[in-house]
């Protein structure tokens, strides 16, 4: 158990900090939340800066154009960029963190050459077409249909919760190619150009009032067979294999952000006298324990993933690691709840101002309502923990 960083890691951190200190002050102003083209331009420009400085695809394998960094270096990168207030991955999210790694792991040499460099350079961005109105928690229930027609698939159906759909170049799409096969066996992974005829995007307004997501309607969209990654009907496996890329770093920036928010809440409470209320003060103290521990759990998971093999050291002594995504389930269960609790506490600190959308943390509070739902509800996560880590029997 060693929490000290190695000399090489400290050097990496110092270099990164120095670079951030140089470039961040020169960044243009952030675009408005609903200015999608502006946000795309801002996010991809940042990605290009990372690329030029040698930080693009930090955690990608070298043969995919990445830097082949260790999980610990990736953790340091995410920690430092968050602390420095650098731009988020934003519009590059799907390309860098899911579609890209999928292509890197399962694509042909040609596919890798075509799709990976533009992602790393910030030239192209991807969106994700997985969820459907009737396939949320039960993703494998997806019904978007792809029929083979010569060297194309003809795709019809609808997708939902697609971020950046309005400005994406490509969509990683899961479609059903064999309706007769068992649910997980008839699914295929396709890369679809967003400007293909038949693709319609409609903004989806969330309860926060914003249109961060979109619905996507596909009406006989023709996708070349050459845009298929992996074998036909093998898309479920292709998609899942990517999760092992994550290596414990999924929420590093978020935990750092939560700790900053917590310190800011304490400062605000001290400024306006609410700090004198022991109920509130102790609640803030408790959250300090919570997020400190979540930071340590992150370090634990990253260390565990640093071993040999795609899943790192395998199921560690703690029982949290090994099966890709399960250590993540333990983390996500606690983190998503803790972050919601953080914003509930923020509302206590704000008092009557918690009703004012223009106050800090108020929109965050609304957004946080999705944390126990998105990317696997807490109910689904508990199933995963109980069945895959604890080995409890599946429900009847």
């Amino acid at each position: 158990m060693d929490l000290a960083y190695t000399e090489a890691e400290e050097e990496f951190r110092a270099r990164l900090r120095a670079w951030l200190a140089t470039v961040l002050p020169a960044l243009p102003a952030k675009p408005a939340p609903d200015d999608w083209p502006g946000r795309r331009a801002y996010d991809t420009a940042w990605q290009r800066m990372l690329y030029d400085a040698g930080y693009a695809g930090l955690h990608w394998p070298v043969d995919a154009g990445g830097q082949g960094a260790t999980p610990t270096q990736h953790l340091i990168f995410l920690e430092e960029t968050e602390k420095a207030g650098a731009p988020y991955v934003g519009a590059n999210f799907v390309g860098l963190l899911h579609a890209g790694p999928t292509v890197a792991a399962e694509g042909t040499a040609e596919q890798r050459a075509r799709w990976l460099p533009p992602v790393l350079r910030g030239d192209e961005i991807w969106c994700q077409g997985f969820s459907e109105p009737d396939a949320g928690s039960d993703l494998a229930a997806l019904r978007t249909r792809a029929m083979r027609d010569g060297d194309h698939y003809v795709v019809s159906g609808s997708k939902i919760w697609t971020s950046h759909a309005e400005v994406a170049d490509w969509c990683e799409l899961l479609v059903r190619t064999d309706p007769a096969a068992p649910r997980h066996r008839g699914i295929t992974w396709l890369a679809m150009r967003m400007d293909t005829p038949g693709v319609t995007v409609r903004p989806l307004r969330t309860l926060a009032g914003s249109t961060e997501f979109a619905e996507m309607f596909l009406d006989e969209v023709r996708v070349p067979v050459s845009h298929r990654v992996g074998a036909e009907n093998d898309g479920w496996r292709v998609t899942m294999v990517t999760l092992s890329f994550e290596r414990g770093t999924a929420f590093v920036g978020e935990v750092v952000a939560c700790r900053r928010t917590l310190a800011a809440l304490a400062a605000r409470a001290q400024a306006d006298g609410r700090w004198d209320d022991p109920v509130l003060r102790r609640r803030l103290g408790r959250l300090n324990a919570e997020f400190r521990a979540l930071w340590r759990l992150t370090q634990w998971n990253v260390s565990e993933a640093s071993g040999p093999g795609p899943g790192g050291r395998g199921k560690g002594a703690s029982g949290t690691g090994g099966v890709p995504g399960t250590g993540g389930s333990v983390f996500k269960l606690r983190y998503s709840h803790a972050r919601q609790e953080l914003y509930e506490t923020a509302a206590e600190v704000l008092g009557a101002d918690a009703a004012d959308l223009d106050r800090e943390w108020v929109l965050d509070r609304l957004s946080s309502l999705s944390y126990t739902i998105a990317a696997g509800t807490s109910q689904i996560q508990r199933n995963i923990v109980a069945e895959r880590i604890l080995g409890l029997p599946k429900g009847r």
């Binding site: 304490a266 103290g285 521990a293 990253v302 199933n383 069945e387 409890l392």
Partner: protein
């Protein structure tokens, strides 16, 4: 950074687990319970020989020269096995009280205002200064009273047991308690003995950390017990662990134990008082709530004396009040935020 157990640490933990399984397995544990034996002198010496108490003494002083990270692994196993006795106090006293390191002396601890565990079996009693509240221990020590500790032994100890202390009927059958009957609050002032300067704050923090490690071991153990019961017990034609109501209780138990684990291990590495307070808070909660949920998963069986779950719950309750309680821990963690503390490295 490599926040994983080293091979040596893994070996230490599994070795300790093996020793306890051999020397204090379930059958012997229940036999000791039935016999009302909390401190077994023979076992105590074996623990001493295995380095349980001398672990952190320098090798030159007969110790193993190891640190808090290794100590928490030992105490985690002790918590898992329900090992009774004033393990933490004796461990802390190694090097300061004769025989503690070797396991030939049993050392109890007096925290002001709280009953003393295992006083009747003790050869020596550590008397700690007043508890700090609302600040890091080192900072507040000068404000809140003399930063001093005593080791009370011999005649004075016998006098205490014979007169100024009375046995309490303890909620935990493995932890006999004694209440000091000298005027409340002043009891620790009245005792004299070998002065052990400047150790109160460190002992308090180390005691809290090791108690947190015991809580962690207990929380992990009750998770296993719940999972085992849920996988085997059938109702309505299926293992009860196949029902989400039970399954999700178990999942939340694991989450609590694993978060506490990271907090405890990290606090052992940094020895930071704030981090120790956080570890104690989370480990207390994990131990108590996991024992409660384990009891719920066991249903009526969990309510019986025969099931071990009540032993974990009662001990977890006792440990929660020791060294640093929830209110003091939360205040210390809040104070840490005052400075606008940023993100640690």
């Amino acid at each position: 950074m490599d926040f994983q157990l080293s091979d040596d640490q893994r070996a230490l933990r599994s070795g300790t687990g093996d020793i306890l399984a051999g020397r204090f397995g379930r059958d012997r544990m229940r036999a000791a319970l039935d016999a009302g034996t909390a401190v077994d002198r023979g076992l105590w010496r074996e623990l001493g020989e295995a380095g349980f108490f001398a672990l952190r003494l320098p090798e030159a002083e007969g110790g193993a020269g190891l640190g808090l990270p290794e100590a928490v692994l030992l105490f985690e196993e002790a918590g898992r096995a329900l090992l009774p006795g004033p393990l933490i106090a004796t461990h802390l006293a190694a090097g300061a009280v004769k025989g503690a390191a070797e396991g030939t002396a049993v050392v109890a601890v007096l925290e002001p205002g709280r009953p003393v565990e295992h006083l009747g079996d003790a050869d020596a009693l550590l008397v700690l200064g007043p508890e700090d509240v609302g600040a890091r221990a080192p900072e507040r020590a000068s404000e809140s009273g003399p930063e001093r500790a005593y080791a009370v032994t011999g005649g004075e100890l016998r006098g205490l047991v014979g007169g100024a202390a009375e046995p309490v009927r303890s909620i935990d059958p493995f932890t006999p308690l004694w209440r000091i009957t000298a005027p409340a609050g002043a009891s620790h002032e009245r005792l004299s003995g070998e002065l052990l300067s400047g150790r109160t704050a460190r002992w308090r923090d180390e005691g809290a950390l090791l108690a947190a490690a015991e809580q962690l071991g207990s929380a992990a153990r009750t998770t296993e017990m719940a999972v085992q019961h849920a996988g085997g017990r059938e109702q309505f034609g299926a293992p009860i662990g196949s029902f989400q109501a039970v399954k999700h209780l178990c999942a939340d138990m694991l989450v609590r134990a694993e978060l506490a684990r990271c907090a405890v291990y990290a606090a052992a590495v940094t020895a930071d008082p704030v981090e120790i307070a956080g570890a104690k808070l989370l480990a207390d909660e994990a131990a108590v709530r996991n024992a409660r949920d384990c009891l719920q998963v066991h249903g009526g069986m969990g309510f019986t004396w025969e099931a071990d779950v009540h032993l974990h719950l009662k001990r977890a309750w006792l440990r929660s009040g020791r060294w640093i309680g929830a209110a003091a821990a939360e205040e210390r963690l809040a104070s840490d935020l005052r400075g606008g503390a940023g993100i640690p490295r």
